[in-house]
Point group: C2
Chain length 302, copies 2
């Protein structure tokens, strides 16, 4: 007797995702993409009167800015750097021979200027810093990017390459905390509109190593991170489909983003895990979007 | 006297692209993205009655399939592999110290299972191969993917991370050659609709090294690759905004894709360089889309 099909198996069988042979790396069908773009439109409409700017980033960011972010300090296990062949004809012959012999062929792969973006808002901060002091009203930016996290998994919600849509608020402590509270409420409204079971809870990022555990505890105690949790995977705990983050003035200090009065800016962001939200919808409303509840279809397709 | 602003400067000044500090790595504005998605819709409509399937891929593909593609043999200088930290707490302390001292910190960055996708159709072939023999009618797939090529440049059309939309035909020699001819014609029709100066010419890929030069010559002689050329950049030659490629049965053999009769499949693809097409439109019709010719606006926005 074969094991019952997992949720991931069903997504492959239905042709919603395409298996690549690498866990967490999947092609998306046209139907899956349509759900994502409809959700993006819904989320974009909610903030359209407030944003100062909208940007879409490519999947990579400059290595110097990536270093400034502290990501290699806090989450080195998840980070991805882009390496390219830097050799001559002779080195290339060696590479081909190693590859043919099944040996390590990566000796001449050297780091480029590009790291894969770990969170959609990271490329924004250096852009704001280069503009000089923020205006009184701060910045309120809508973003989207492919992100990378090196954590191969059979849980369909834990992809290695996935998209985040974000709103980012940069300004005073009051502005950024108010922003985060507004979006926690809007997040709940979105989940009710989409008829998905949900719960908002305090959370922490997966900081690396022994020292990292203390940082996670501190992040929870200060209530810097909240997540919108939805049961999606077989058996496992619920999945964070949105997150609501207040970074205090950490990023303002790291990148040198300053308020009109010259003090470091505070930042906050709300992130929507686009693939995770699509998967939550398929999990709870079925694999055929035509059969989804009328209210959900109306919210997405109008 | 300062030098006259380049096309790239103007794109930054107008807020259509955002500079990251790395050549060929730019954020896109909402307006830039809208032009891209409108062009995609135009291109998708042209093939909608013919396709058997539509897929969107993440920006990476499995390393084993990447090796099978021969890309490291032919274009090692352009390829990007994804590397992650594979160490313990102690190694991590070393990494942080190297980074702080401005030394090389990449000793523990090891290759993952993922390479950045060099062309949108590469992740498709292994998926087709795993399905077994093709049906009589072959396959006709619409695709989209972010692609990576390591070629930093000040030419705005030569981005390191960019998107390709493709149609791929997999089948007999007759099917694939007929497909390519149809799309060469449709490519011209699209350029006329968009009122862009254009020329179709035979071309070759930038094969690496001395041996590579011979391959380029052979590819031209066999007329395997045509490009849709449009003047876009300051001074430099015209830019390939579309390409029309016939791979013979090379990919069919490499990945083991077989026809119903058991022989290796032939493949052909048409690729649209989405950022390049958007840049061509901005170059020729101006930086304000509201001022574009009425026929162009109608073709894109309906």
């Amino acid at each position: 007797m074969s094991a019952p099909a997992t949720f991931l198996d069903k997504l492959f069988d239905q042709g919603l995702l395409y298996d690549s042979g690498v866990d967490g790396l999947y092609g998306r069908s046209a139907v899956f993409e349509d759900v994502i773009s409809r959700f993006e439109q819904l989320a974009l409409n909610l903030g359209k009167d407030e944003i100062s700017e909208a940007m879409v980033f490519p999947p990579g960011m400059p290595v110097p800015d990536f270093k400034t972010s502290g990501y290699m300090k806090n989450f080195p296990q998840l980070a991805g750097t882009v390496h390219s062949f830097c050799g001559n004809d002779h080195d290339h012959m060696g590479l081909i021979q190693c590859m043919a012999a099944g040996e390590d062929w990566t000796a001449n792969q050297k780091i480029t200027d590009i790291a894969l973006t770990p969170a959609a808002c990271y490329p924004l901060y250096p852009i704001l810093a280069r503009r000089g002091k923020l205006p009184e009203e701060g910045a309120y930016v809508a973003l989207q990017s492919y992100c990378f996290r090196h954590e191969p998994s059979k849980e369909p919600t834990r992809m290695q390459m996935f998209r985040q849509r974000e709103y980012v608020r940069v300004g005073t402590q009051e502005q950024t905390i108010a922003f985060r509270e507004t979006w926690k409420q809007r997040g709940v409204e979105i989940m009710e509109l989409l008829q998905l079971p949900h719960e908002v809870d305090v959370a922490n990022d997966p900081f690396f190593g022994r020292a990292g555990r203390m940082m996670g505890v501190s992040q929870r105690e200060q209530e810097l991170k909240f997540e919108m949790l939805v049961p999606v995977n077989d058996g496992a705990g619920p999945t964070a489909c949105m997150s609501f983050n207040y970074h205090m003035d950490n990023f303002g200090k790291a990148w040198g983003i300053t308020l009109a009065d010259g003090t470091p800016a505070h930042t906050a962001c709300v992130g929507f895990g686009l693939e995770r939200l699509a998967l939550a919808l398929f999990r709870h409303h079925g694999l055929d979007t035509a059969q989804w509840p009328e209210g959900v279809r109306k919210a997405l397709w109008g």
